[in-house]
Symmetry: D2
Subunit: 339 residues, 4 copies
Amino acid sequence: MIIVMKHGAGKEELAEVKKRIRELGYKTHVIHGETRNVLGAIGDERGKSVLQSLESLPGVESVVPILKPYKLASREVKLEPSIIDLGNGVSIGGEKLVVMAGPCAVESEDQILETAYAVKASGATVLRGGAFKPRTSPYSFQGMEEEGLKLLALAREATGLPVITEVVNPRDVELVARYADILQVGARNVQNFALLKMLGRLDKPILLKRGMATTIQEFLMSAEYILAEGNQRVILCERGIRTFETATRNTLDLSAVPVLKEQTHLPVVIDPSHATGHARLVPSMSYAAVAAGCDGLIIEVHPCPEKATSDGPQSLRPEAFASMMEKVRAFAAVAGKTI
Amino acid sequence: MIIVMKHGAGKEELAEVKKRIRELGYKTHVIHGETRNVLGAIGDERGKSVLQSLESLPGVESVVPILKPYKLASREVKLEPSIIDLGNGVSIGGEKLVVMAGPCAVESEDQILETAYAVKASGATVLRGGAFKPRTSPYSFQGMEEEGLKLLALAREATGLPVITEVVNPRDVELVARYADILQVGARNVQNFALLKMLGRLDKPILLKRGMATTIQEFLMSAEYILAEGNQRVILCERGIRTFETATRNTLDLSAVPVLKEQTHLPVVIDPSHATGHARLVPSMSYAAVAAGCDGLIIEVHPCPEKATSDGPQSLRPEAFASMMEKVRAFAAVAGKTI
Amino acid sequence: MIIVMKHGAGKEELAEVKKRIRELGYKTHVIHGETRNVLGAIGDERGKSVLQSLESLPGVESVVPILKPYKLASREVKLEPSIIDLGNGVSIGGEKLVVMAGPCAVESEDQILETAYAVKASGATVLRGGAFKPRTSPYSFQGMEEEGLKLLALAREATGLPVITEVVNPRDVELVARYADILQVGARNVQNFALLKMLGRLDKPILLKRGMATTIQEFLMSAEYILAEGNQRVILCERGIRTFETATRNTLDLSAVPVLKEQTHLPVVIDPSHATGHARLVPSMSYAAVAAGCDGLIIEVHPCPEKATSDGPQSLRPEAFASMMEKVRAFAAVAGKTI
Amino acid sequence: MIIVMKHGAGKEELAEVKKRIRELGYKTHVIHGETRNVLGAIGDERGKSVLQSLESLPGVESVVPILKPYKLASREVKLEPSIIDLGNGVSIGGEKLVVMAGPCAVESEDQILETAYAVKASGATVLRGGAFKPRTSPYSFQGMEEEGLKLLALAREATGLPVITEVVNPRDVELVARYADILQVGARNVQNFALLKMLGRLDKPILLKRGMATTIQEFLMSAEYILAEGNQRVILCERGIRTFETATRNTLDLSAVPVLKEQTHLPVVIDPSHATGHARLVPSMSYAAVAAGCDGLIIEVHPCPEKATSDGPQSLRPEAFASMMEKVRAFAAVAGKTI
């Protein structure tokens, strides 16, 4: 932590700040600059947010953190990439590009089975489908709940694909874990710390979506909540951030892929469906994501998007998904991955 | 809902869209434009997000909603402003400007009592204090939990001030409701729909904070979740949105006050502490909020900000709060309110 | 400037960075931390952006600037607020709140005279009106150009109000300066450095609008361009920044007022018309701006907004402006200002 | 244009709006909804921003544009993609992926020649280099101006590469056009309409960069300014938009590629250097851009980034550029392009 003193701050103010830093268990080191003094607080500052409160002392201009605030998620703690077993022989983070596909919401047995067979035939290795749906409107379809989970399990049995589904309430974690192979935390719950802590005590992989206004650093701190409770199987998912642009539903931040790869050992998945909000933009953004070096894609596919209960406009038809997968395969090969 | 057809879309495509709109229970009305056709779908479109899926039909360029998607929160349903009883004789939404003040986190009996007496003496009529703290880092202080709630209850007994405190887990709603007069939903939980539904079944006022990337329309939809479950006592709180600017912690969107006043009957409170992140900016933003027409303020006050376990830099010392309140009173008078 | 070395960077890398910093004319100072080293580069770093390039050296993690990059705009260089003479006996930055009002664009002699008399009667002391209009569309009305300037001069003669008008092309600076009392730089030209340099050599006050995506620091750097050329009469204007929110045209960042007041001696004006984009939101945001401590307001007023060639929706009718001014006066009194 | 009437607006208000729409030369068409009426204004609304002013009429809730406001840039006007001749046998928009590379600023004969030979050897077909530099700080290096242009011409003669360089002042357009093959408009000048109009009268290709807060629609309107003056050779360049994320300098909006490809016939180039701000992120974002379907890349390359006068941290060394180009070639092949 670097503490920048104000222009004109006096000796007593400096002494007071030094004293306070030492009380908090750090060594201090002063750099006397030409127009102001700067103090370094030496020691592991992670988890000691209290240092930030020094900004309230007289003579302090600002407090600048230097270390990254996360540990377990960091490349400094674990250098090699994490390869995470997803069940049914599928793993993510290694040389295989994992494609998760399926409808936004599970709507019926026919719908989920038809989609599961179709996406499997095109090369998807995980089936996605929502049973608990966090919807902006209380009047919108909120998901089939346990009935939906059962249909996902049925589709897994039929196709062999492990299933990923969202959990929105800490209360439902156990229930969802009984049916799902991977539990998903949606963008709206990225800082639902009660939920993250519960998932940290689970023995299942967690796919954590970045929030619409979550910085990469905050995103890794949310992952750290899960890791700190003991669950090391966390998959990060970039799904678009909120910006001023309205041509797309969100703005896909693909530079998050190389930034995350630098800072963490956890695998990174891209969701071009929620990022763009329009099915016709999904293929090009999938190709771009693969070229950027992601470990997987999560794609919305629906047999009849115009009748979907949610997210129809961003869902690919099975044929469009199939033809996209041909090109995904070719880009993956150049990126050094196979499907 | 307005459905805009593509330039060059043919008769069959138009017919198909009309057919589908009628199947969904709307009347249709076509406007034949010079370069493209536009369809109106007549009927109450609220809660029928399925219309958006028509974008997947061939020939459709875009689907443009016309009606606001909320009902109970709307001025169209309830014209006069809601005045909400907060307990201990305090109410919000009428002619009294309500000032809620106190520390970010309850830290000790001495701290909360000292603060409570001080803020009351300066004119605050509600005591704030966190017992369950949603912190970005799992290594930061997470609050005193039930112990903190007990201290808040003690401070209420001592001072007569009703207390507001945050709840972060649906599991804790009953517990928090036993001690608190007002339950607060933090910015990170604005779309934690499981939590909102639980609070909708409670007989206590709820203060709902806008999220960092929540549009005003989404904010009202979150309020609608609580209202739709039966709890009509919802207070809205603007606390800064996330933008590119880093001089402040967030960007306080004060224009939300007149926009919300136009669209909803619910009272509006401003939180300049989280919005600015710096105690020295809190007074001017409090004055501005009052002049903009808000119904209340929620302010962080700490007897010793440099030792605060969280949010020290944005907490006012009691003396600074007292002198700010003098001027708040004067601005409130011009705005037609008293404290 | 603080240079943070990577975790695990070696002695030779550190030595190389030190050597390079010294070559650039700074003293160095190393803080040996627990997990990484940090170097301070001591010396006036302003204007030496070349230090940032040290990030390219092996072993360097990041380069963190400490000093503010502006000088002449800074409170450190000039402590007392600048009071700027605007002509015809009007000055800004002192105890008088200056209200600039008038149409977005000058459209005719009748229109500008009618508006000028009306806003003067309500208390405005500067007349605004655009003759060169930067419009998003090449097919929109681009202003009356010199004809419009002549009409502004006529209105000044008739009412005694000094006039402010925008200049968009360095070529036109002299022409506009012949007619205008204050030259305005629009948000789109905040980093049109060729224009700023020309204006820096002029002997007229400049009102510089913040850009839609301009940080406060960049805004002050743009002011510095004008100051560095010799023109000390710069007025800063916050007019809303671009965010994800669409309920308003832009998001008015009122916290810019106290932040700018802290960092610079230059006066600060608020433009609630462009910030909100809707006439009905202008009064409350004007009150809030005054309460926040601004030095002036700039308001769009049009005798017949529904026929305005530009910005109709955000223009107040003269009667609405008059009634707003009554309350502006009362809020200004509490803020310690008169009109 | 769709005009939405307020809930409860009366017959006279509706009649007034109809009358006004007809006066403006449109036909009207009313849809009587369940809770409010909606009017369609039929006619070509482009360039008639005055319709927006109808929002000021009593009873009007909002005015919603339906048509895209640009014409010449639109796919509706010109279906097939534009292939633009850049000089020296290079063209963009067809099957060749064009890579423009070189230093941020021209600094010396040695620097520009060394870089030009190096980037040509790796496959670049256009040389970039700035002679007029728009810098945030007035104290930073502002470019070699005409001297720099001469060095670029020298490098073109030596290598045969056409050169692209920025122009920032309408006054310099002729001067720059004497030396450059392509004139670049920087992000800060995307709405410098005086400059755009001058460039529209030139017989040289223009590369127009998107601004930091420019929507795709506004970006196309800026292109329209150039096209409307007669110059049809416009190349669009996405270079990152400003968001809340600080891990990268800007946020690269790669979804702009398919969105622009849908809406316009103009070629699209990606600038991953300015978008990311860090050389180590440039390769993966270049691969992603190619996979997304762009027509070209513009990349900063410097023989010694740690000594660069500007943008050192984001400049690739020639060796890094060479190895990146190997992989760019492979991704381009999958995307159906050659270099």
